[in-house]
């Protein structure tokens, strides 16, 4: 158990509404990531963070923003949700120590935008 909690686990909302997903970790890992998973695409990186207030864009960052004001929390925001953002969202963490460290994942959030 890597101590990662994603909330909510499921959410249904309407097009145009703002949505915030939360990732919380208990082990003070430096790196945190947000991915989306869609059939036929595997996992695609949205944004990641390498420290408090240090974030960078991934492959599919358009329409998403992130914030990390504390080591333990990494928030993903959809400012105005669209149906194309219906997906399963995963948070992942990675220790900053050890170059071969893998990512460990949360249990995912299923987001449906109607």
């Amino acid at each position: 158990d890597a101590g990662i909690t994603q909330s909510p686990r499921h959410k249904v909302t309407e097009t145009g509404t703002p949505v915030t997903l939360r990732c919380h970790q208990t082990e003070n890992h430096r790196y945190m990531y947000w991915y989306r998973q869609d059939p036929g695409h595997g996992l695609r990186l949205i944004h990641y963070s390498y420290g408090v207030k240090d974030t960078d864009k991934g492959e599919v960052s358009d329409g998403y923003s992130v914030s990390r004001s504390k080591t333990e929390d990494f928030l993903l925001t959809l400012e105005s949700a669209t149906s194309s953002q219906t997906s399963v969202y995963f948070c992942a963490i990675r220790s900053g120590t050890g170059r071969n460290q893998p990512q460990h994942f949360g249990d995912g959030t299923r987001l449906s935008i109607l």
Partner: protein
């Protein structure tokens, strides 16, 4: 961006038999790390095995082993004595030792285990 290719969208194996899942990647780097993750229907992402590119010896974890061919940029996963619990989606992932922070995933292979 690195490209990771899993050319087998679906595979099946008879229980107790051996199956090999393929993964290739595109990189010009010499130092990197490779991973296989398993995603059962529960949706959890579970690390199966990892390989450092500088190591010539193939990684092994119980019934799971890899065939790492650096020159061919190939990283296949072999599952021996397949069990019903091995049924899952399997993802191959790459991480650079230079750019470091990002992982790149393949599109996955769905493995069915036939009793």
């Amino acid at each position: 961006a690195q490209t990771v290719t899993q050319s087998q969208p679906e595979m099946s194996v008879q229980e107790a038999e051996t199956v090999t899942l393929s993964c290739t990647y595109d990189t010009s780097e010499s130092d990197y790390y490779l991973f296989w993750y398993k995603q059962p229907p529960s949706r959890q992402m579970i690390l199966v095995i990892r390989q450092e590119a500088y190591k010539q010896q193939n990684a092994t974890e119980n019934r799971f082993s890899v065939n790492f061919q650096k020159a061919a940029k190939s990283f296949s996963l072999k599952i021996s004595d397949s069990q019903l619990g091995d049924a899952a989606m399997y993802f191959c992932a790459y991480r650079s030792d230079y750019t470091g922070n990002q992982f790149y995933f393949g599109t996955g292979t769905s493995l069915t285990v036939i009793p």
